[in-house]
Amino acid sequence: MSARVRKLVMFPVAFAFVAAAWEGYKAIGPANGGRLLGMRLLPRTNSRTMPHVWEMVSRLGRPEVRGGKQTILSVVTAATWYSFRVAFTAFVIGAVLGVAVAVLMARFRLVERGLMPYLIMSQTVPIIVLGPLIIGLMAYGSRDLVSKTWIAATLLGVFLAFFPVAVATLRGLQSTPPASMELMDSLASPWWRTLSKLRFPAAVPFIAPSLRIAGASAVVGVVVAEISLGIRAGVGRLILSYGQEATSDPPKLYTAVFGAAALGLVMALVVAVIDRQMMRRHPPEGV
């Protein structure tokens, strides 16, 4: 079995282990929670909080609402697909903007010096909470804009995807080998040529991994925007509304969680393909 096949096979195996652990704990754990080390650490195992795995899966095949026509699977799939389009749009815009701003910063030292500390700070502070601010600004710009709620979610996704790409691109542009820079200088290459022929290709190994973070961030941004801003359509809304039905229909919430997980995994897969294409001409990673 090649290493790659083994890696892929391990995904379902690992998930099966998690499911088994879930069922195992449900079988032996206390129904109403318990104490461990003097704290109420042991989770409850009653069917309201920990439904059986097969209940979650079979719930997918049944109608969303009693007597309804649509199965929950089709509802969740539609919502996930909707969120994916929003998140992917956000990812692309955010990544392009990130690269553009980084190139600008690399070109103008003053811009770099002025903005770099803020870019680094953006990695450490929870900028995700600024969602409502974006809505506020949109509302100020135009009333119509707000009614298109997906734009708000996209903007938050763009916002979150932008920063890691900008930081990584700039770092990549800064770490061009000095010897290669000297070579280009000795050839009297103008800066845009040096950029397109040397500095940008040399920055690709920095940019590619940042895209993975950007993809995941875009997904988180969109889902959290859907939840915190109460945006209709999209898998975030399903999580919120199914969560409210947890008492009467516990497995329902998990179907939405599956949708959110699928959203993230599909995004990761798409980004991995992009990543691989970008890294084709670069030597494989050392360690």
Binding site: R6, K7, M10, F11, A14, V18, G33, M39, R40, L41, P43, R44, R48, T49, M50, L110, R113, G114, L115, M116, P117, Y118, M121, Q123, T124, V125, P126, V129, L130, P132, L133, G136, L137, Y140, S175, F206, R212, G215, A216, V219, V220, V223, V224, I227, S228, L229, I239, G243, A246, L253, A256, V257, A260, A261, L263, G264, L265, M267, A268, V287
Partner: protein, 263 residues
């Protein structure tokens, strides 16, 4: 003298641009709100934010402490579990192979959504669900890095230990585990801001209403935008503290990394 003058000029060249950018940005913001007469429920003035920050500093501090403690407990717990788990299972490749896909999944999917599920498992007024959510995210980051560190052996050192006829246990204690330290502390530095973000966002999914996340979304969605921004400032400070703290820890514990870190 000239050297000192040059040094001063150099450090000014580093410090001044961001300060100027920041001041200009805030000034433009203030001017825009004043001139355009933007309503405070849309965007508050920077001065108003400062005002509400200092009007009742306790309000913001309290929320910061709630969320900060959640993040810290989760960070510590997740780091310990990730480190111990990795060291204990490093002999069994299968364990790492099983953890890796889960780590990829947790990093790729909006895992915070399961905080609702976790909250369901505990009492309504409990912070355990959120802390557990933070620990889960931190656990995977630390586990993957430490496992990398355990396998990242310096061939010269391994050969040396072989020449001493050292037992596998001695090799683990004297070479492999110390070799993981840079990886462990890099992982903690990576995980620290993520811990704050998760602690904050997990408050959107129900549970007690006393943390920064609920306060921010409550205020920003409501009309008191200035207070909302004051909480945002508080959250940024918590995030920066976590980053600074974890960086300092790395600096102190693995000093030889200072010169080697690639970026």
């Amino acid at each position: 003298m000239t050297i000192i003058a040059a040094r001063t000029r150099d450090s000014l060249a580093i410090v001044l641009p961001p300060v100027i950018f920041g001041v200009v940005f805030v000034a433009l913001w203030q001017a825009w709100v004043e001139i355009e007469d933007v309503q405070p429920y849309v965007i508050p003035k920077p001065t108003a934010i400062l005002q509400s920050l200092f009007d009742d500093p306790n309000l913001v501090t309290k929320a910061c402490v709630v969320t900060g403690v959640n993040a810290l407990v989760g960070l510590i717990l997740g780091s310990i579990l990730g480190f111990v788990g990795s060291v204990l299972t490093n002999r069994f490749r299968l364990v790492a192979d099983l953890v890796n896909p889960l780590a990829v999944t947790v990093a790729a999917v909006p895992a915070v959504v399961i905080v609702g599920v976790l909250n369901n498992m505990y009492a309504l007024d409990s912070q355990i669900g959120r802390r557990l959510m933070v620990s889960i995210a931190v656990f995977f980051i630390v586990f993957v890095q430490v496992t990398k560190g355990l396998r990242h052996n310096n061939p010269t050192q391994m050969e040396l230990m072989q020449s001493y006829a050292a037992s596998p246990r001695q090799v683990l204690a004297k070479v492999r585990v110390p070799n993981t330290m840079p990886f462990l502390f890099t992982a903690i530095r990576t995980a620290a801001p993520i811990a704050v973000i998760i602690a904050l966002v997990s408050e959107y999914f129900g549970g007690t209403q006393d943390g920064l996340g609920t306060k921010i979304s409550g205020s920003l969605n409501g009309s008191n935008k200035a207070l909302g921004f004051a909480y945002v400032v508080g959250g940024s400070i918590v995030g920066l503290l976590f980053f600074a703290g974890s960086s300092l820890l790395e600096y102190l514990v693995v000093p030889w990394q200072r010169r080697r870190r690639p970026g």
